[in-house]
C-alpha cells in the first residue's frame, strides 16, 4: 500500500491567488536579502494557476507598484487602463446617469483586468523567484502539534463514490511547514476550520458575503472599447437586495458583464444567475450585447463585511490573508490590491519570525500590528460601515455611505461601529417569491443555469465522494421545503442542488460535477448544514480569462 508522502517545507501558502503569490514573491525576496535559505511553496487545487480565479475586475495597482516598481515595463496582461467610466441607475426599460460620483468610486489610474490572466502572470513571476507552486493539490486538513499548526494535509486521490480505493489510489501528502498562510479565497475550507477551532470571529461582526456571477461576451470586431467601465444599481435587484452590475470592456472585443448580489436578501427565491439573465433583458444591455456570443461563465462569492468582519488573523503557525480573511473594499468594489498587500505584510511578519526562529501565536501576532499601521487599515477604516448601511435598503446604503465620506466612515454620520448580521439568518420563512416567471431562456441570449455552466468549462471526476457534504438530508425534504422552499436550488449558480422526485419520494440530488467552487451554498444555507470541502485536486472550473 502506498504511504503518505511527507514533505518538509518552511512556508506554505494555500491557494495560488494574488494574496498568496504576492506574499510568496515578497517573502522569497526578503529571505534572499537576509540570506535565509527557507523554502516557500504555494498549494493550488486548480489544474493550473488562474483556472479557479474570478473577479470583476478593476485593479488598483497600488500593491503591484510596491512589489514591482517597474510594473509598467513588464508587459502585465492588463486589459486596459480605465478610459471612460459611467454609473447608472437602472429602471426597467430606462437608465439614468448618477448626478454625482464620489471620488472614492472613480477608477482613474486603475486597470480593467482579467484576474485569471493576471494571476497566471504573477504565478510565473513567483516561480522565477524560486517559489514552488503545486497545482492540482487540495488542502484538506491541518497537521497540528498541540495548538500550533505545523502543516497541511493534501487530499487522497483515487477514492470512488463509496469511499473505496480505486486501482490508481494515491494517498495525499503531509506538508510540514513552520508557517501556513491561508490565501484560499472566500470561505476557504481550511480557513473555516481554523476560524471555528480557534473562535477567530469572537467580538467581530459576522462576515457578510455577496455572490458575483459573470459572463464574457465575444462582440463583433471593433465594437468594444478596452477600458470602458460602467456600474449600475437598481434593476434588476431593486432596492431591497444589495448589489449591482458591472460592464467592462476587455481586449479583443470581449465584453465582461457581471452582477453582484448580496447574500443577505430576505426572499429565499432569489437566484443570482437568474438575476443576471434579468439584467440582460434591459434594453440598454440588449443593445450592448447585440450580435455578440457568450464565451465564458463563472461565479464566486466575495466578503463584503469589511473592517469589523475581519477575524483574528493569526494563530500559532498559521495566518489568514486576502479574501480568506476578508480584505475587500466593498465601496470601491476592489479587493485584489488589498489581498496582495495583506500577503506582503504576512511575508514581512514571517521573515521576522524566521529571524527570531519563533512561529508561535505571539510572534505571528505582529501581522495584525502591521495591518493596523499600513494603508490597508486606512482604506478599510474609511468604509468600515459601508455594507451595514444597506440593511436599510439601497437608499439607506447610499445615504450612510455618503455621510461616511464626510465623517471618515462613521455609520449614519455618528456611529463608530454598526453591527452586521449573518446573511443566511435574514432569509424569511414562507416568503419564497418567484421573480423569474417571465424569463424565457432561449439558449442564445438568455441562459438557464446548465447552459451557463457549460461555459465555465467545469469538470470533476464523477467517481468520487461528492465534495458537498450535507449533514442532514432529512431537513432538505421536510423543514427546508416547508420553511424556505429549498433555496439551495436558487442560490447555487451552477445547478448543483436539485430536488428530484422518484419512486422513493422527494430527495436532494447533488450534481457536484457542476460546482464552480463559489462556496455560496456553504455560506447561504439557512440551516448551515452544508460543508464545502475540496474535491480531488485538479477538479473544478477551467477558467482562462475571468
Amino acid at each position: 500500500m502506498p504511504e503518505r508522502e511527507i514533505l518538509d517545507l518552511d512556508v506554505l501558502f494555500v491557494g495560488a491567488g494574488p494574496a498568496s503569490l504576492a506574499g510568496a514573491i515578497h517573502l522569497k525576496r526578503l529571505f534572499n536579502e537576509s540570506g535565509c535559505e527557507a523554502s516557500v511553496a504555494v498549494l493550488e487545487k486548480a489544474s493550473e494557476v488562474g483556472a479557479h480565479s474570478l473577479s470583476g475586475a478593476i485593479f488598483d495597482p497600488r500593491s503591484l507598484i510596491e512589489l514591482f516598481p517597474d510594473y509598467k515595463d513588464r508587459n502585465i496582461p492588463f486589459e486596459a487602463e480605465v478610459k471612460e467610466e459611467h454609473m447608472y441607475y437602472l429602471m426597467k426599460g430606462k437608465k439614468l446617469p448618477f448626478p454625482y460620483v464620489p471620488p472614492s468610486m472613480r477608477h482613474h489610474g486603475c486597470y480593467v483586468t482579467s484576474i485569471g490572466k493576471f494571476t497566471r502572470w504573477l504565478g510565473d513571476r513567483a516561480e522565477e523567484e524560486g517559489v514552488d507552486i503545486f497545482c492540482g493539490f487540495s488542502g484538506t486538513d491541518f497537521v497540528y502539534d498541540g495548538d500550533e499548526v505545523i502543516g497541511v494535509k493534501t487530499g487522497d486521490r483515487g477514492i470512488d463514490k463509496d469511499g473505496e480505493r480505486k486501482p490508481h489510489f494515491e494517498p495525499g501528502a503531509d506538508i510540514h511547514a513552520k508557517v501556513v498562510v491561508l490565501g484560499e479565497g472566500t470561505r476557504g475550507s481550511l480557513t473555516k476550520k481554523l476560524i471555528q477551532k480557534f473562535n477567530l470571529m469572537e467580538n467581530c461582526n459576522p462576515q457578510v458575503w455577496a455572490i458575483g456571477v459573470k459572463e464574457l461576451w465575444q462582440m463583433p470586431s471593433g465594437t468594444v472599447t478596452p477600458g470602458y467601465v460602467a456600474h449600475t444599481m437598481g434593476f434588476p435587484l431593486g432596492h431591497d437586495i444589495f448589489g449591482g452590475a458591472f460592464i467592462y470592456g476587455m481586449q479583443n472585443d470581449i465584453l465582461d458583464l457581471g452582477l453582484v448580489v448580496g447574500l443577505d436578501y430576505q426572499n429565499p427565491g432569489v437566484d443570482a444567475q437568474h438575476e443576471l439573465q434579468r439584467l440582460k433583458t434591459h434594453p440598454w444591455i440588449r443593445s450592448l450585447l447585440a450580435d455578440g456570443e457568450i464565451i465564458a461563465y463563472g461565479a464566486k462569492s466575495l466578503p463584503e463585511g469589511g473592517w469589523y468582519s475581519l477575524p483574528k488573523l493569526t494563530v500559532g503557525g498559521a495566518m489568514l490573508i486576502g479574501d480568506s480573511a476578508g480584505f475587500l473594499n466593498g465601496q470601491r468594489l476592489k479587493g485584489i490590491h488589498l489581498a496582495m498587500k495583506s500577503g506582503m505584510l504576512a511575508a514581512e511578519t514571517i521573515s521576522e519570525a524566521f529571524a527570531a526562529d519563533d512561529f508561535s501565536a505571539a510572534s505571528l501576532a505582529s501581522f495584525t500590528d502591521k495591518v493596523n499601521s499600513s494603508w490597508l487599515k486606512n482604506e478599510l477604516w474609511k468604509v468600515r460601515n459601508f455594507h451595514q448601511g444597506f440593511d436599510r435598503g439601497l437608499l439607506g446604503g447610499l445615504i450612510n455611505s455618503g455621510l461616511g465620506l464626510f465623517t471618515g466612515g462613521r455609520g449614519w454620520g455618528i456611529k463608530d461601529r454598526l453591527p452586521s448580521h449573518h446573511g443566511h439568518e435574514l432569509m424569511q420563512k414562507g416568503t419564497a417569491e418567484d421573480r423569474y416567471a417571465d424569463l424565457e431562456f432561449d439558449g442564445k441570449y438568455l441562459f438557464d443555469k446548465v447552459t451557463d455552466v457549460y461555459y465555465s468549462a467545469t469538470a470533476h471526476e464523477e467517481d468520487q465522494i461528492p465534495h458537498l457534504h450535507v449533514h442532514d438530508m432529512d431537513i432538505c425534504i421536510t423543514k427546508c421545503t416547508e420553511e424556505y422552499g429549498n433555496p439551495c436550488e436558487k442560490f447555487c449558480p451552477a445547478d448543483v442542488y436539485e430536488m428530484v422526485q422518484d419512486s422513493d419520494g422527494k430527495r436532494l440530488q447533488i450534481n457536484f460535477s457542476n460546482c464552480v467552487h463559489c462556496k455560496t451554498c456553504d455560506i447561504m444555507d439557512p440551516y448551515q448544514i452544508i460543508d464545502w470541502v475540496p474535491p480531488e485536486g485538479g477538479d473544478g472550473p477551467g477558467w482562462v480569462n475571468l
Partner: protein, 257 residues
C-alpha cells in the same frame, strides 16, 4: 536504454472551444491546455519500462509548440522523465503529421533512441500518423495501437489491438517507434517532490524554423462545427405498410441494408 516520449499539448475537452477567424483552427486564447490523453499513457509506459530495467535508462520527453507546451514537458519531468526537449512552434505545419515527423526526426536523430513512444493519436487533430512516419524516417520498426509491451534484449514484443476484439502479438527489433493506446496502464499523478525536482531537470529549447525545409503535405482548408441536420419522418399506416416503408428507408436512404 534510451526511451523517447512524444507528448502533445491539446485543448482540454471541457473548454468551450470557438473557431478562430479564418476557420482553420480553434481560438487558442479561450482554451485550457492539457497533455494529450494517450500521450500520458505512453509516458507512463516508458516510465514503467525504465523502472523495470532498473539500470541507467533514460526517458526524454519531446514536445513541439509555443512556449506554453513547456507545461506538459514539466508535468512529464515531475512524473519522472529525465529531461525535456521543447521544439519551438513552426506555425505553418500545425496540422501536418508528415512535416511534424520531419521536424521531430531532425531534432532527435542524434539521440539514437532505442524506443520512441507516442500516443496513438492526438485528441485535437487525430490523424494518428506522426509516430509511424517518424519511425519510418529514422529507419525504425513501427507498431500502432499498442495495448501491452514486453521489453527484451534488443527487441520489444507488443500486443496490438485489431478489430472485432482481436489482438496481435508482434516482436520487433529495436530501435522501434510504437504508438500507445489509452488504457494500457494507470498513469501516475505527479508527486510534490517530483514537482520540486522537475525544476532542476534539463529542458532544451530547439528552434528549427529556419533550419529545415518543410515538406508540407496537407493543411486545413476549413473547420466547422457539426451541422445538426435532424430529419424525423413518422411512418404511419398498418404494420405491413410501416415495415415496407422502413425497409425502403434503410435500403435507399440510409443505405445500411
Amino acid at each position: 536504454m534510451k526511451l523517447c516520449v512524444l507528448v502533445k499539448q491539446v485543448p482540454g475537452s471541457e473548454s468551450a472551444l470557438r473557431i478562430a477567424s479564418g476557420n482553420t483552427w480553434v481560438e487558442d486564447a479561450a482554451a485550457l491546455f492539457e497533455m494529450n490523453e494517450s500521450d500520458n499513457y505512453a509516458l507512463e509506459e516508458a516510465l514503467q519500462i525504465k523502472e523495470s530495467l532498473g539500470n541507467d535508462s533514460e526517458v526524454v520527453v519531446v514536445s513541439m509548440g509555443p512556449e506554453r507546451v513547456q507545461k506538459v514537458i514539466r508535468e512529464a519531468l515531475s512524473k519522472g522523465a529525465d529531461r525535456g526537449i521543447h521544439i519551438n512552434e513552426i506555425p505553418e505545419i500545425k496540422s501536418d503529421p508528415f512535416a511534424t515527423a520531419q521536424v521531430f526526426a531532425n531534432v532527435i536523430k542524434v539521440e539514437n533512441f532505442d524506443l520512441i513512444f507516442s500516443g496513438l493519436q492526438s485528441d485535437d487533430v487525430g490523424s494518428g500518423q506522426t509516430g509511424v512516419i517518424l519511425g519510418e524516417m529514422l529507419g525504425m520498426a513501427t507498431a500502432t495501437l499498442v495495448m501491452a509491451t514486453e521489453v527484451q534484449e534488443g527487441s520489444i514484443k507488443v500486443k496490438r489491438e485489431l478489430e472485432s476484439g482481436w489482438f496481435q502479438w508482434v516482436s520487433m527489433s529495436t530501435p522501434a517507434s510504437i504508438t500507445i493506446q489509452s488504457g494500457i496502464n494507470q498513469p501516475r499523478y505527479p508527486s510534490l517532490k517530483g514537482i520540486m525536482g522537475a525544476k532542476k531537470k534539463e529542458m532544451k529549447v530547439v528552434d528549427l524554423s529556419t533550419a529545415v525545409t518543410i515538406e508540407k503535405q496537407q493543411s486545413f482548408a476549413n473547420i466547422y462545427l457539426p451541422i445538426a441536420d435532424k430529419k424525423t419522418e413518422m411512418i404511419e399506416g398498418n404494420v405491413d405498410q410501416m415495415v415496407s416503408r422502413l425497409v425502403d428507408v434503410l435500403k435507399t436512404e440510409i443505405k445500411v441494408l
